[in-house]
Structures are given as structure tokens and as C-alpha cells.
Symmetry: C2
Subunit: 254 residues, 2 copies
């Protein structure tokens, strides 16, 4: 098994290094990741300037070929598959992200977008995030996702299978199980903080407190609160098939 690792927190992020150390035990491992943090880049790609890939070396894993790219997570996957790796990988794993990628927020996520780029290129993928920003411990998440990667390769018959995984920041014995569930909804309030600079000109910080929607439903947003690992299969076709027929009834004319 040949696995490509990437992320959106940058090549020297702790989560990616923890992941590398686990994945190299089970597969031929390559790392191609942004040279600096790229959170909330969504599915951006770089078209208007050239990309560079610099070879880097992890002191804990000098045998793992690794490149830092001056681009987005989606750039990294595309460049890895089309130019850097000697052969196509069997699986792309993106993460371990510092902070959850749940519900509506996956649209903004560089972590998930890198995984989507994998399936666009015909390679199944896993995006994995740890639901803790301030004091993350990636040990169990890395272990879990390595087991999942093995299952993924065993079961997978479809090239476009993408799993979005969130792991709570708990000790293994405190985790309440694994929830296979759809994406939920994440809403924010007070989205911007308005301030004035020393010259009196206004500017805005994206802020936004999460609104607690009291989701009783079976979604990733609800399950992570219960202390479960969440796994959601993702697909990149945004067509609203349910509305297609109704739209035809509009009889839109030239």
C-alpha cells in the first residue's frame, strides 16, 4: 500500500508528523504539504504563480520522502500525484488537522479539500481532524486512522470514496464509540469584530461564536459532543438532484 499524506496546517505541524509516524508502519509513505499554514483555504488552487516543491526531512522519519510546497492543500495533492511521486498512491490521507472539521464547515476546510482533490484524481481519501485547538494530543487519532486506512483499502471498491473523520481529544478509554453519520449544520453569530487602526481607519476581524443548535439528530456535530469519533462519507457533486425536476417547472425562457 502506498499512501500520500498532506494537511493544511503546514508540513511541520504536529498532527501531520504524528500521522507520518503511524502510517509509515503500515505503508510506503510520502508527504507533500504546504510550507506554511493554509487553514480555511477551502478548495483554492494556485493558477497565477508557479509552484515550488522543496525536499524536506523529518528527523524522526528521515526515510519518508517529503516535500514542502508553496501552495494550497489541493495544490499539494495535485502536484504530488502529477509530478512528484514516482507512482500513484493508493490512498490520500489529509490531516491530522488541529481543530474539528464538522458539518457546514467542511466547505471551508483545506484539510477536506485536499482529500476531495484525491478523489477528483481517482484516488480514495481520508480527511482526519482532532476536535481540539488549544491542547491537542494526536496519539490516538493517528493510531485510529492507520487502522481505518487498512480497512479502507480492504473494503474499498470505489475510487471516489472519501471519509471525513473527526476524533475527540479524549483518552482512548474515554471515547464513546464510532458514529457513522451525515454532516450537521454549524452556525455562527457575531461574525465580525469591528475595530479602528491607530490612524482611525476601520477594519474587521472574522470572529464568530458557534451557535449551539441543540442538535438531537444523528449528525457529526451532535456525535462529537457525545465523545464519539465521527465518520462521514463525502462526495464532491454539489448538484441538488431533489430540486432538478421542480426547477424544470419554472419553464425558464431565453
Amino acid at each position: 500500500m502506498r499512501i500520500l499524506l498532506t494537511n493544511d496546517d503546514g508540513i511541520f505541524a504536529e498532527g501531520l508528523q504524528a500521522l507520518t509516524q503511524e502510517i509509515k508502519k503500515i505503508a510506503e509513505t510520502y508527504v507533500v504539504a504546504p510550507d506554511h499554514e493554509q487553514s480555511a483555504t477551502g478548495h483554492a488552487i494556485t493558477m497565477h504563480r508557479p509552484l515550488r516543491a522543496e525536499k524536506v526531512r523529518y528527523s524522526h522519519s528521515p526515510e519518508v520522502p517529503a516535500w514542502a510546497v508553496n501552495g494550497t492543500p489541493a495544490d499539494c495533492v495535485k502536484l504530488a500525484v502529477e509530478a512528484l511521486l514516482p507512482q500513484r498512491p493508493d490512498l490520500v490521507i489529509s490531516g491530522i488537522n488541529r481543530g474539528a472539521n464538522l458539518g457546514t464547515d467542511v466547505l471551508y476546510s483545506g484539510t477536506v479539500s485536499a482529500a476531495i482533490e484525491g478523489v477528483i484524481l481517482g484516488i480514495p481519501a481520508i480527511a482526519v481532524s482532532l476536535a481540539e485547538y488549544h491542547n491537542p494530543d494526536y496519539t490516538y487519532a493517528a493510531y485510529f486512522v492507520a487502522r481505518l486506512a487498512q480497512q479502507h483499502c480492504r473494503h474499498n471498491t470505489k475510487k471516489d470514496l472519501l471519509l471525513n473523520v473527526n476524533v475527540p481529544n479524549l483518552k482512548p478509554e474515554e471515547i464513546k464509540g464510532v458514529a457513522i453519520c451525515p454532516l450537521g449544520v454549524r452556525q455562527y453569530k457575531n461574525a465580525f469584530a469591528k475595530r479602528k487602526d491607530p490612524r482611525g481607519r476601520e477594519y474587521y476581524w472574522l470572529a464568530g461564536e458557534l451557535v449551539d443548535l441543540e442538535e438531537n439528530e444523528d449528525t457529526d456535530v451532535a456525535a462529537i459532543k457525545e465523545g464519539k469519533i465521527t465518520i462521514t462519507p463525502i462526495q464532491p457533486d454539489l448538484t441538488d438532484f431533489a430540486f432538478l425536476e421542480e426547477l424544470k417547472e419554472w419553464k425558464i425562457k431565453l
Copy 2:
């Protein structure tokens, strides 16, 4: 009717100006758009630096309030709705993009992401693109989308209705009709051009020729080739519902 206009080609792009001149005839119009081109930014948002909004004035439409923002298309919509506009808009229109946004490519599209940000905020939206990069004429596309906006407001009972529209670069009498259709697939080959800089270091340009997949299916990719306007309803939930039950059968354990 109150309409917010935005785009990803930048506030002074010709397509947005053509759109403004048509939309102001039918609605109270506001423009909040990036201060420079932001193509292929996907659903990026700006979290790690503050945003600024500068008032600008279109010479052809000095009565239309307009702001240039140093952020992404999704930032523009969020900032417009949460901070700049006196009231919430009834509709967001993003475009008119220079170049098509079809099939798989909508994931990379700043134009479509701005519209998705609208529906995330509970405001219906239209993304509109002209399928021509080199010699675009936005006149008919602007006229068409203004009519569509009126229909959209008349019909719409759901707050999350998002239409992705592509208009061929043809004279009105040459357009072959309106196709309501799902997104197709766009694949590229030779994705990167590898070069050397004057100091002998390698770099990569994203290139990528479109592979002609000979789609006979009823998709936007096929319909635009036939000279039709394409309209696809879009929804932002990436959950692969069809695969959820099968994934449960994997019996994934801690």
C-alpha cells in the same frame, strides 16, 4: 427586492459592471467584491488578518453603493451581510464570471463559493458565468440573469436555493435554449508544466488541458457545448448519503 452582487474577478471586472447595470433596473442593488482578482480561491475565508472595506464608485452607476474588500469572494458576502449592508439582501448574485464554471470545476470556483456563502447565511443565490475567456460579451448574460433573478424571487420558497448558471458566448438568436441539468465531470491531463528558473531551480505551472470525455449525458458540460444556457441547482451538503449504510457494515471499531 434587494440584491447583493459580488464576484471573484475583482470589483472592476467587466462582467460585474455589466451585471450591475442590468440589476439596478430591477432591484435595490449593492456591490461588495474583492479588490483584485480571486479566481480559483474555492471557498477560502480570511481568518488570520483583518479585512478592510473601501467604498468605491462606478462612474456608470454612482448611485449603487459599492465596496472593495481585501478578501475572498466568500469573505465579501459574509462581510456584506454581517457588517456593511443596511439590511439583509433578498438575493445574492455572483458573477458574471469570465469563463465557465461547469461540472467538477465548481468546487474550485470563487464565483460559486460566494453564492454558497449566501445560502449558508440563509439567502438564496445565483452564480453566473460566461463560457468564454478571451473575447467575452456580457450583454446578453446580464440581461438573462436579471430576468432569472425576478423568476427566482417569484418562485422561491426555500432559503437555500442556489442556481449555477453558465451562458454561452453567442448572440441571443444563436443560443439553443435553456438546459436544467446536473453537474458533469471535467477532467484534465498534463496538469503541470515543469520549468527551470534562471538559477536552475525547478518550478511548476498549473496547466492542464481539458479532456474531452464525449459526454452524451444530460449534464451542464454537454449542454454548454450544444450552445445552451445551463442551470444547475446546487446544495452545499457534501454527505454521501448513498454510502452511509454500506459504511456502517464495515463495523469500524475503536
